[in-house]
């Protein structure tokens, strides 16, 4: 079977800054991910190739069973491809040891989860410091950075609160700040607004837009079209393969969604 390939860069040609000028920070090269379930082999990903360039805002969509979650896990360095390459910052990480892959997660990727996933017994400040803690970078500097990012996401002055004392939207802001603490290559959001009401959802999506001028790269995995359409491009998955790559701005220009 010939793998279908979608290249984000191809779709962004014609912009003021050509996509080719921006470095590729994450890249799938013919990625397969097969699970053995008893006698059956489930091909969750079946030859996916794609690229994310610095500054991209990409949504990954698909119905359940399309391979979305598997793609998220591999993108996030939580899982490894059965075959193919996953390059982060130009380095193939698909065969790394558990420890090295942990380092990739800790240094290059900023996770944002549907259910926020803050650690309940820690304060906001301590939650923000968790990613740096595992790199031995907790100190006065990490505190300054946490204060700065808390201010950036609109949560200045809440550093000593426990997550339970914050609203859902506020918790997700903390999670976004936490994802930015290690200056990751890209933010990886998994249904980041799935647990929020529509107003709060809009606030969070606006916050993503606010972050983009800083050069933040965002990959969102979602099944919600309203979330996906805020991205520059939408990558549709179907049956473990790339179905199509849509340039949302071009689509919007044509008056279709």
């Amino acid at each position: 079977m010939v793998a279908r390939t979608a290249v984000v860069a191809a779709a962004t040609e014609g912009n003021a800054v050509t996509a080719a000028d921006r470095p590729i920070i994450a890249e799938f090269v013919d990625v397969h991910r097969h699970y053995v379930m008893g006698k059956n082999v489930v091909k969750a990903l079946n030859g996916v190739s794609m690229q994310v360039r610095k500054g991209d805002y990409l949504a990954i969509m698909g119905r359940s069973g399309s391979g979305k979650s598997t793609m998220l896990n591999i993108l996030g360095g939580l899982d490894r491809p059965t075959s193919g390459e996953y390059r982060v910052g130009g380095r193939d990480v698909s065969r790394l040891s558990d420890d090295d892959l942990s380092d990739v997660r800790g240094r290059e990727i900023g996770f944002i989860f549907q259910s926020f996933n803050l650690i309940p017994q820690l304060t906001v400040l301590e939650n923000l410091e968790v990613p740096l803690f595992y790199q031995g970078r907790v100190g006065p500097e990490s505190r300054r950075k946490a204060e700065h990012l808390a201010g950036r996401v609109g949560l200045g002055g809440r550093l000593e609160h426990k997550p339970m004392e914050l609203s859902g939207g506020q918790q997700q802001r903390v999670a976004i700040a936490r994802a930015l603490m290690n200056d990751p290559l890209f933010l990886l959001a998994d249904e980041a607004t799935g647990n929020l009401d529509s107003n709060t959802e809009k606030e969070i999506l606006d916050l993503f837009d606010d972050l983009r001028p800083d050069g933040v790269t965002i990959v969102v995995v979602t099944h919600n079209p309203k979330v996906a359409e805020r991205a520059d491009h939408t990558l549709w998955l179907k049956d473990g393969q790339v179905e199509q790559l849509i340039d949302n701005r071009a689509a919007a220009g044509r008056g279709t969604t």
Binding site: N73, G76, L78, D79, D98, D99, S102, D103, R105, G106, R107, F111, F113, N117, L118, I119, P120, Q121, L122, E126, V130, P131, F133, Y134, Q135, V138, R178, N182
Partner: protein
């Protein structure tokens, strides 16, 4: 330090559970320390008594023969003769030339000084007695060879006796009345020993010591036994044999045993008894070792139970915090970080228990000593040992839960509700 603080914070999530787990270790440690202290105290007392008898000594005491009961009914006026005689001491000295042989004669008398009266044991003995019993003179001097030759009417008195008879004055140079008519000049006072009572029921601190020759001349060998109202003729209550070193004790004991048991009179009457403090000491030490072994087993079991408690709680904690583990892994934690985190928590639990347990374990023997008047001995190595074991228990029993936590699949862990 940060890990310990964060560990404490996590433990505070379940205060009751953490407290109960800690209590398991706490009581384990406390009971180990307290039991060891009580055991040590009790055996230390026994061992001290045997050491005071002198580990290089062999003691031969006269003992009233058992058939006395029948003969006492037949005739109250007959004189009952038994026990060691002067000649026995000479034979012992001949058999054991390197030994120091000390003859001891004991009898009860009233002792009077002015207004003060007391009844005590008068010990007629020889110069080497001081050395063999390992006592010291506090004031004045001890008996001399010259006193023996002159059968002098002088005495050296025990510390406590001195206080009873001379509450306000210096005893040295004063005279005391022994019995009805014999005056003895006090030439010395012994240091207080605080030892347990001798076989005659009186401590050395309460005795008066006079030359053996004087004793024989003034008081003779025949004494009326106040309890049976019979006259008993005993030349010597005791012969103390001191060997040059502990290595000779066994040989000496065997020689003495053979000698006295082959003696037709003694073997027939069974009127002597040989005590070997070294043997008693060794037996007591063996008992103590056994006791300590049993304690160690009990201690290990109680700490094992505490450890199982810790393991149980840590497994529950790990399951409960599966999601947290997933989050931490997603944020860059390596397996070793997760292991560390949960080991620290288990270690903090057991170390806290150990710490409070040490406190309690030191307080309990103190209370026992105070209210039950049972001697105890808290030994720092035991405290360290108990605390060390408790900390080790935390780490050992925390290892498996921590390993389980670290080896969770991060994807699964994140999906966990």
């Amino acid at each position: 330090m940060r890990m310990v603080r964060l560990g404490l914070k996590s433990l505070m999530l379940h205060k009751l559970r953490s407290t109960l787990t800690t209590a398991g270790i706490l009581f384990g440690v406390a009971s180990v320390i307290a039991m060891l202290a009580v055991g040590e105290g009790a055996s230390a007392e026994t061992l001290r008594q045997y050491r005071e008898m002198g580990v290089t000594n062999v003691l031969i005491r006269s003992k009233k023969p058992e058939e006395t009961q029948q003969s006492s009914t037949s005739s109250t006026m007959s004189i009952l003769g038994y026990g060691l005689v002067y000649h026995d001491a000479d034979r012992i000295q001949n058999l054991l030339p390197t030994a120091t042989v000390v003859r001891v004669r004991e009898f009860q008398r009233g002792v009077i000084r002015g207004e003060n009266w007391t009844s005590t044991i008068i010990v007629g003995t020889e110069v080497d007695f001081l050395d063999v019993t390992n006592m010291k003179v506090d004031e004045g001097r001890w008996l001399s060879e010259l006193d023996q030759q002159h059968q002098a009417n002088i005495c050296v008195i025990g510390h406590k006796l001195a206080r009873n008879l001379f509450p306000l004055e210096d005893p040295v140079g004063k005279t005391i009345l022994v019995g009805i008519e014999d005056r003895f000049e006090v030439v010395g006072v012994l240091e207080g020993q605080g030892r347990a009572a001798s076989p005659n029921g009186t401590t050395l601190d309460e005795c008066a010591f006079i030359p053996l020759t004087s004793s024989r001349r003034r008081f003779g060998d025949t004494v009326r036994n106040p309890s049976t109202n019979r006259f008993e003729n005993v030349e010597l209550q005791e012969v103390k044999v001191k060997m040059p070193s502990t290595d000779d004790v066994e040989m000496a004991a065997a020689v003495l045993d053979r000698m006295l048991m082959s003696d037709p009179v003694h073997s027939a009457k069974k009127d002597i008894e040989i005590t070997v403090p070294l043997e008693l000491l060794r037996k007591a030490e063996a008992t103590e070792r056994m006791f300590n072994l049993v304690l160690a087993v009990i201690a290990s079991i109680s700490l094992l139970v505490g450890g199982i408690g810790i393991m149980n709680v840590m497994l529950a904690t790990v399951t409960e915090r599966t999601r947290e583990i997933g989050i931490r892994r997603a944020l860059g934690a390596k397996k070793k970080h997760i292991v560390q985190q949960f080991l620290v928590e288990a270690g903090v639990l057991s170390a806290l228990g150990g710490l409070v347990g040490v406190g309690l374990g030191v307080l309990v023997p103190y209370g026992i000593e105070r209210w039950f008047e049972q001697q105890t001995d808290v030994q720092p190595p035991h405290v360290l040992l108990a605390f060390g074991i408790s900390a080790a228990v935390g780490v050992v029993f925390g290892l498996y839960p921590a390993w389980r936590a670290a080896n969770m699949d991060p994807v699964e862990a994140l999906r966990h509700e």
